[in-house]
């Protein structure tokens, strides 16, 4: 079943790649080039079934974005996945503590991404 997914990354390549994978699987995709832009979209009424975000971006990073999402009405339980090149274990711990749902290391294989989405998003 098609889901609404918000992708957040400062890399145009990542945004386009993820969009291609997800739309081909039938999902509807919204994009944000920064965490601040994502917050604006979410506060503007966007209600995604899943958020996929990069970690290292501009002023606000992905972990801070997770904290912001968890504070928003109606989004406390929406799955948030971090997709990053970061490999340090303590950063994963920080992400988990902030309320993230999962952690994927770039480059993310299309099969793996779609499989994770099926696991974390009910009905996907």
């Amino acid at each position: 079943m098609a889901k609404k997914i918000l992708i957040v990354d400062d890399s145009p390549t990542i945004l386009m790649s993820m969009q291609g994978i997800l739309e081909r699987a039938g999902h509807t995709v919204s994009k944000a080039a920064s965490a601040e832009q994502a917050v604006t979209l979410l506060q503007g009424g966007l209600k995604p079934d899943l958020v996929i975000t990069d970690l290292h971006m501009g002023e606000m990073n992905g972990i801070e974005l997770v904290r912001q999402v968890r504070k928003m009405a109606g989004l406390q339980f929406v799955p948030v996945l971090l997709v990053t090149t970061e490999s340090q274990q303590d950063r994963r711990i920080d992400a988990k503590a902030a309320g993230a749902t999962g952690w994927l290391v770039k480059p993310v294989q299309s099969d793996a991404l779609l499989q994770v989405i099926k696991q974390v998003v009910p009905g996907a």
Partner: protein, 379 residues
């Protein structure tokens, strides 16, 4: 942050020679001339070395100044590479999406308007029409055979009627002969009767004429009947038979053509099915690698981050070279310079990937055994 002040050896030496200090040569010459001369020579020699040192320092400062530009050029080159790879990656993604879109469109078209089911239905409909036409042909052939049989039956009937008429004609001839005999006898009796029989003889003669005429007419009728019989029997039969044979031959050709067409339809349906299955299978085979390529293009982002790291390191090196140049220029004072060792530690602290730390450690003489960690982890 560890910073320690570098009191340049060169600077220290330059301090020793560059400042106006207590002049060595201030003691009176009269009292110790040879020693003073020696000291003066030493001072002159020291002053020459200091001058040489100063020139060297100026040269190094000048060279260090160029490093700033050099590193700027390298950072711009890296920035250009970063942009080029991003543009190329986006271009590749665009084309992959186009290809995928076309494949999806083709598969959608195959599923809807040109599906195997609809083609097979068309083929079966055409085949049913051919079967119906074959039945019509057969029925027509049967009706033609029946018509031919009816024709032959009518012929036989006519021939029968002609035969009956021939029998009647034969009877008429018999009557004519008998009448002729009667007339002959009457003539003989008339002669015997003498004059009283003359009138009777005339009548007998007339009767004889009449019987001859009847017989002739009967023979004429008989001849005509025979000709009619021949005409009906031979030409009609041959005409019907030949026509029937020609029609049967034509029906056989048409039937053979229908059979061949039906067989070709079956082959065409099977071929259509095989082609459609093959196209769908190959399209799915192509679609999967394209999807994987769309995901793999993310390597460009990893490369971008690594290039940005190198660019930041070059900026640090440029700043460091400026600090060194400043330290050499300001030889009178102690100038604090952030050491290379410190720069390297700062660089290491910005690493995000296990590969970066491993490379750093190996280049620094250590081990490179950090594990990448699981690629997917659900909390």
């Amino acid at each position: 942050m560890l910073i320690f002040c570098v009191v340049s050896l060169l600077g220290g030496v330059a301090l020793g020679y560059g400042l106006p200090r207590r002049a060595r040569g201030t003691t009176p010459l009269r009292s110790a001339a040879p020693q003073k001369l020696a000291s003066a020579v030493d001072v002159l020699a020291d002053l020459g070395a200091a001058d040489h040192l100063a020139r060297k320092s100026s040269m190094v400062v000048e060279e260090l100044a160029h490093y700033q530009r050099f590193f700027s050029i390298l950072r711009d080159q890296i920035g250009h590479v970063e942009q080029e790879t991003e543009d190329a990656a986006l271009g590749i993604l665009t084309r992959l999406n186009e290809i995928d879109s076309r494949i999806q469109s083709m598969m959608g078209f195959l599923d809807s308007s040109s599906s195997q089911d609809s083609v097979v239905e068309l083929m079966h409909r055409a085949e049913r029409r051919m079967v119906e036409n074959r039945i019509l042909l057969l029925e027509f052939q049967i009706s033609r055979d029946q018509a031919a049989a009816d024709g032959l039956a009518r012929r036989d009937e006519l021939l029968g009627m002609i035969e009956e008429l021939n029998m009647v004609v034969a009877q008429v001839r018999v009557i004519a002969r008998q009448t002729n005999m009667l007339a002959l006898n009457a003539t003989i009796e008339a002669v015997r009767a003498g004059d009283a029989g003359r009138g009777f003889a005339v009548v007998a003669g007339e009767v004889k004429q009449l019987s001859r005429g009847s017989d002739q007419a009967a023979r004429d009728i008989s001849g005509g009947m025979t000709r009619l019989q021949d005409a009906i029997g031979s030409s009609l039969e041959s005409m019907v038979t030949q026509r029937l044979a020609a029609e049967r031959e034509a029906f056989a050709v048409i039937e053979g053509g229908i059979d061949e067409l039906s067989g070709n339809f079956d082959l065409l349906i099977e071929h259509q099915r095989v082609v459609l299955e093959k196209v769908q299978a190959e399209s799915e085979q192509i679609a999967q690698p394209i999807l994987q390529l769309i995901g793999s293009i993310q390597f460009q982002d990893v490369t971008r981050q690594q290039l940005q790291l190198v660019s930041r390191a070059m900026q640090s090196m440029s700043n460091h070279s400026q600090q060194l140049a400043h330290a050499l220029q300001d030889i009178k004072n102690d100038v604090c310079v952030d050491t290379i060792e410190n720069q390297i530690e700062k660089l290491a602290s910005t690493y995000v990937m296990a590969e970066q730390r491993n490379i750093h450690n190996i280049a620094s003489g250590g081990g490179g055994s950090e594990e990448k960690g699981s690629l997917v982890e659900l909390f």
